[in-house]
Symmetry: C2
Subunit: 327 residues, 2 copies
DNA sequence: TTGTATGCGTTATCAG
DNA sequence: CTGATAACGCATACAA
């Protein structure tokens, strides 16, 4: 910067002002400075600027598994919005390990990042104690227990109810549910929606028709196998995510049956291969990318301490009807 | 830090030394300092440290599409190795847009990041001119034209040849190829391997049996449709990636045929759903995660200016035989 | 409108 | 082994 100052025949202060768009600079001097910048290819040092301004213009996203396509598409939305707002995106993989969560969260305490986006459904331990940074944290997709941090996502219960209504509308009365792991918030919300959907259709709930998996294909397969071993198996099944729905279809195939002929199957998420699978999956589409973008927008507003940067953001979902549920 | 110094009754210089693990500190003073640190929850400011040391302890990964599972698993490997080496990972989505590439690459010039990992197959324009940062750039998966930057990946030609050898070994003599977009390096390498594989099996190449797609499912579908419309269609097809292989299988299905009964199909990459698809896909497995990790390790060595931080790293691939190719 | 001076939080140099 | 101090590059308060 001192070079630019010399080249343009001004002080570094003026260069700084010109570069930050201060109105206190003559058009003419600004022009000289910009010329010098172009000539030398100079660029402001973000570390020095950050040190001075006490901000990093960086945000951190905590993800349990970057490799999971669901999360990576949320990341895409975050990145776009972050770039648009002049932020860079750091990504930390937690693998659900509290120690890693804490290590990454440390970046918020040190000032390495200005904000945090949680895609992993919980606050890192050290942040549970320390409430000083609540204003710089938002969650996406999955709510955080405690209600301290705002969430951006869909109405999971309503979406689950919509899926069940769809199956009931097809004439099914025995509708099973392959739920996620117990204790998980999404599991609870979708389970609640499942129950509400049954009620709305005038169907009596039957605890035996509910089995828990862990959101993986194999777990969906065994949950469905258990359902099929029932004296009176369900004629339709709503699964808490698409992976388990695929597992359910495999379980059918293994015993020589198939979806939707023998059992209708619906999933949740509309992952990339949901529409490509055989049969294509009926599912709930979440606006993943937009969820990421909205989360970043919210975080940006909170960091800037904008007044309206309030609570949760609920985005619309869509029921996507495909062959797996329709005869 | 000044607080710590006061608490421990030493100077900031000593605190700094203790915190950086300098041997020039008494065990006793170090203990006092560490106690003060624990008590206050103090953490070093990375911006100030970076400004002073002229390093950011951050690296940037340029990806064309974070949402793509192939890339996101490479990211996983990068993140793990980066964390292990004390680096944070920034992710920049380029969407193949040169302007975005340049904007992100700027972070290398400003010192915001210490190194760059390219997963998008090419150097951002401004870095093509400026060779000053060559020592801080590595590529993964896809080689960069020009040979200036070292690549971490598999031997794509050999892998393609192995896939073709597999199909030939099954007795096929008319083996088609659904290639990637023309001009793409991976396309060229795999196309070359396809040719080599045919030659090794004593099969004469036939230009008509080669169609180009763009690595998407629909493009694979139409490429395969064209192949099937030939007077004498191939009895086996090697596709340059799994998405196009899935498209090829769909093309078969549309005209009432199926894989592998009518045409054997092999893909490339072993993406997440390759093993789950119906039929499960025969494909080439790339060690994506390890590729990411090795790339980061290489970059780390280069940044540290370690002597042995030389050229390309070639990792082993594996031919995964599944039902799509076997009768 | 511009320049001077100071401090952001660290680390490295140089004395002691 | 420890302390004082300069410097990293920038942005702002204060003067002019």
């Amino acid at each position: 910067m001192v070079d630019i100052a010399r080249l343009a025949g001004v002080s570094v202060a003026t260069v700084s002002r010109a570069l930050t768009g201060s109105p206190l600079v003559t058009a003419e001097t600004r022009e000289r400075i910009e010329a010098a910048v172009r000539q030398t290819g100079y660029a402001v040092n973000p570390l020095a600027r950050g040190l001075r301004r006490q901000e990093a213009r960086q945000i951190l996203v905590l993800v349990p598994d970057i490799g999971n396509p669901f999360f990576s598409e949320v990341l895409l939305g975050i990145e776009e919005e972050a770039a648009a707002r002049g932020f860079s995106m750091l990504v930390g993989n937690t693998a659900k390990d509290p120690a890693r969560e804490d290590r990454h969260a440390g970046q918020l305490l040190t000032g390495a990042v200005d904000g945090l986006i949680l895609v992993n459904g919980r606050l890192p331990p050290r942040l549970q104690r320390d409430r000083d940074f609540d204003g710089r944290i938002v969650a996406v997709s999955e709510a955080i227990p405690g209600g301290r941090v705002p969430v951006v996502g869909i109405d999971n219960a309503a979406a689950a109810a919509a899926a069940v209504a769809h199956l009931a509308g097809l004439g099914h009365r025995r509708i099973g549910h392959v739920a996620g792991p117990e204790g998980n918030i999404l599991t609870r919300q979708r389970l609640a929606g499942y129950g509400a959907g049954l009620r709305a259709a005038g169907i009596e709930a039957e605890p035996d028709l509910i089995r828990h998996g862990d959101f993986t294909i194999p777990s969906g397969e065994s949950a469905m196998a258990a359902l099929l071993a029932l004296p009176t198996p369900p004629t339709a099944v709503f699964c808490s995510n698409d992976e388990m729905a695929i597992g359910a279809i495999r379980a059918l195939r293994i015993i020589g049956r198939e979806a939707p002929r023998d059992v209708a199957v619906a999933g949740f998420d509309d992952i990339q291969f949901a529409g490509t699978y055989e049969p294509p999956l009926t599912t709930i589409r979440q606006p993943r990318r937009r969820m990421g973008a909205e989360a970043m927008a919210l975080l940006g507003r909170r960091i800037a301490a904008e007044p309206g940067a309030g609570g949760d953001v609920t985005l619309p979902f869509a029921l996507v009807e495909r062959r797996s549920s329709v005869r």
